[in-house]
Symmetry: D2
């Protein structure tokens, strides 16, 4: 397939590379074109504008937040203007339910197809095509997007014919991950102050009831105390909890644990944690217990 | 080995049966002896008193709470009085750090050995010898207890030479499980109100990042909405969070998520949830969102 | 002074009446003009459009939320278009910091003056000119607005030359009131279950350390258990906590108690509390304790 | 009346002095007798033992916590042993509901009268006889205690014929005060980061809706940022929230705001706040917002 790819950050670069590896013709666009260089050496075509990235069967966007997606897709020279009728926009970014609905409406008006396909996984998983993709959209649109989604992920789940349902799964999934981080932060502070080796403690947990990647990945980060460089930066974590809470507010769903996480992230950001991995909120529990890292 | 077993509840009955299967001579004692009948048909000896259950190499206690353990072990005709010098008391109950220390001191004074060996797993796991055992105690004591622990569990982890460290691991582990329940409760309420099928949602989670028994077991319970009969009853969950918070208070570790769980359990108990499984706290999030079950 | 008044809800009607009583020429406008009838009999002039209400020295807006203010002030036929150069817009509504800034900028561009003057007090206080007014704006603008503010309130406090500072005081003030409601709700549930008469309990509190209107007003509401009709409706309370949290997020200030209140209001709204007074969140604590009202 | 007084801390010393001023014969006892010297110069008799302080019509105890009260009252040479039949024990300490019940039972067995009479007020109020006293006990007992209570407080409220009801009022009252501290801490952090002068902000609040001693006293402390020396030390605040939560747990009353306060106090104590005033928890909100004091 001929596919455009917009947004070559740490996640997007890996995803675009995997589209190339799967044999697709990929035209890449990034605001700062330096990031595209490697992909061009791997066979990608460089687009000079958003419009140029929108001339194929589909375009994938993988951007940082609502603002970026709004600018790139709904802006005056954006995807919605330039994408051909019947072509498909695959939005892999983690965005708000509200924006997902607006994108859906806009593309429908323009006779374009829209698939929300947010992904679970950190940059290393993106590079290895080991992302988990949750897709939402009309059957026909999802069918067409499928080969591209398969190229980027190890598993693709279709959750609903409403695109925003996929975004809600993603946001609630990130809420669950952050919940794991918080719970491990508190439990680690407790056992550490009780004289127990945290690494050994986590080894026990993850070899039994908690034998899941989420506990292994974040347990290792917390036990190491190394939160830089960030695999997923704290401001992105804060954003996702904010979007989950916004969706919850619209749907009138009180989420006290999400509220707790919200305050954790704000505290981290207000105290110099901008560039840390989001799992650094686990250190706040240790700080509150008077444990000084070292 | 000759081993006594005190406390034949849903967990203890399975554990004692597995000691028998492993070839040990088991003398069982329960306040209400009816529960011992099945075990006797399987080869156990019935003890008429705590003293009679304390005549072997070791005695295992598996009781509901601190009060029961205090009565059985530290009472006037209790284990500490009757256990021979050099014999080992294996305490598998989930008890407070404070009581674990007191047991440790008492047995030391009497020249007895003490191993705290709380277990992870529900009654079905106990019956299948698939419990996870976390043991704490002096090396020599743990060594002697090892064949018994192996007979009851699929894995045995020795965490520390201080018995109470094992109890702290158990309490913090139950805190982590309850955290999973709460987070699944909130996430499920959110996606359900967003029109997503909760079972399908949970299937996605547990086939990827959250591929661990704890998510599968409790996800299934929450999606089914069937919280009776209880595998682990709400009052026991409330007790364990209380004990975790008590340990946290002694060690001065603020645990806001544990505090949230505390309030969830009190609310469940104050509103008729006595006999439900502890995972029923997940329904509170649904109730708060105006979702009526059934 | 010649002053327009836009927004004749339960608060605005009383405020406009007091401007009339103080001898000002008042031109009133409301989307549904029926509400203006009484004021016209008291001497007010009826405006057929926003434009007509903007021909004097000043215009006061007292509207329900950001959306209403945006429409009335920033809309194509809005206040910002029609207000004469040098005339003053007094915004008494409880709105977001972000919108207050936008209004400030807009009026500055149009050569108009802007004063944010949110008020504390319920409808009965508005009718009696006993509101507390917190004003923000350039000195000259506030000076001109002063006679009008004095006519509507018993006390006028000038907090800053930045209008939005007044809005922040208002939002944080409503957060403090809601905190009182929550704390009284929890304390009342506790003492009620302890067998103590809640009314007597509150009498003790308010005759000593808690001898303030906020405790008397809300204590009486909570003890009575009568939350309808609403003096200040639950959706407005929910909105204000949302705006306080939005301001806190922009400024990166974690506010766990505000987060708790957020969840309380969402729960109330998700369970049929739309038309109740915002103090009805106090009943949630009673419900959680298994106390059934009645 | 002939009255003993046990516990001459910062509160007790002032209370005993006021009993003297009111013309009562006061026999004072303190573990460290140095503290009694001033009172002796004012006319008090020094007791060499608890027994000697128990020979009059009544004895007042004003001690730090449950442990101290248990030792002094229920110990082998304690008040319950030495107080004459029909004499009255007035317990002014802030203690648990559970201990209050035990004292009540014990004194009843010994034919002694018991009044729980915890007090609201800081040391300066104790010195000026401006405490607020909340009393619980049988009518006859309270009647006899009345002249003594009147001498120590500006107001005496009789809440119930069950002594422990008075203790519950006291604990819930301290919960309400701590709630005020927390809410002011969060609101102050918010407006401070919004560029508003906190002192001016508090002046506005306390001149209107929040015109109560509790807001003035704690507002001034928070605005000043001076939390040493402590009028009421952080460990005592932590203890009272613990006791309130213990009562709430027994009665099955979830109190999320009390849980939040619990974690605040633990954090303060875990980070060097032992000797600060309990209102120092307000600084935690400022710290979390990245505001550095000084």
């Amino acid at each position: 397939m001929n596919v455009g790819f917009i947004g070559l950050g740490r996640m997007g670069a890996g995803m675009a590379a995997n589209l190339l590896k799967a044999g697709h013709h990929v035209t890449v666009y990034n605001r700062t074109s330096a990031k595209a260089a490697t992909l061009v050496t791997e066979g990608a075509t460089l687009a000079a504008s958003i419009a140029e990235a929108c001339r194929g069967d589909a375009v994938v966007t993988m951007l940082a937040d609502d603002e970026a997606v709004e600018r790139v897709v709904l802006g005056p020279e954006g995807v919605a203007v330039h994408l051909p009728t019947d072509a498909t926009h695959i939005s892999a970014s983690t965005i708000s339910i509200a924006l997902s609905r607006r994108l859906s409406d806009k593309h429908a008006k323009h006779g374009q197809r829209f698939v929300a396909a947010p992904v679970f996984g950190r940059p290393d998983a993106a590079a290895l095509a080991r992302l988990v993709v949750v897709a939402g959209g009309h059957n026909a649109a999802v069918e067409r997007a499928k080969p591209l989604l398969d190229a980027m992920g190890q598993k693709v789940f279709v959750i609903s014919d409403k695109p925003e349902a996929a975004n809600l799964v993603k946001l609630s999934g990130n809420f669950l991950i952050a919940s794991v981080i918080e719970s491990l932060g508190e439990a680690s502070a407790l056992v550490a102050k009780g004289g127990i080796d945290v690494q050994r403690y986590l080894d026990i947990l993850t070899s039994t009831l908690f034998d899941a990647p989420v506990y292994k990945i974040y347990g290792a980060l917390i036990a190491s105390g190394k939160f830089a460089p960030a695999g997923f930066a704290a401001p992105l974590g804060q954003k996702d909890i904010r979007l989950a809470l916004a969706a919850a507010e619209d749907l009138r769903v009180p989420m006290p644990l999400a509220s707790l996480l919200r305050d954790r992230f704000l505290r981290l950001l207000a105290n110099g944690g901008e560039s840390l991995d989001w799992s650094a909120i686990a250190e706040l529990a240790a700080n509150d217990a008077g444990i000084t890292s070292g």
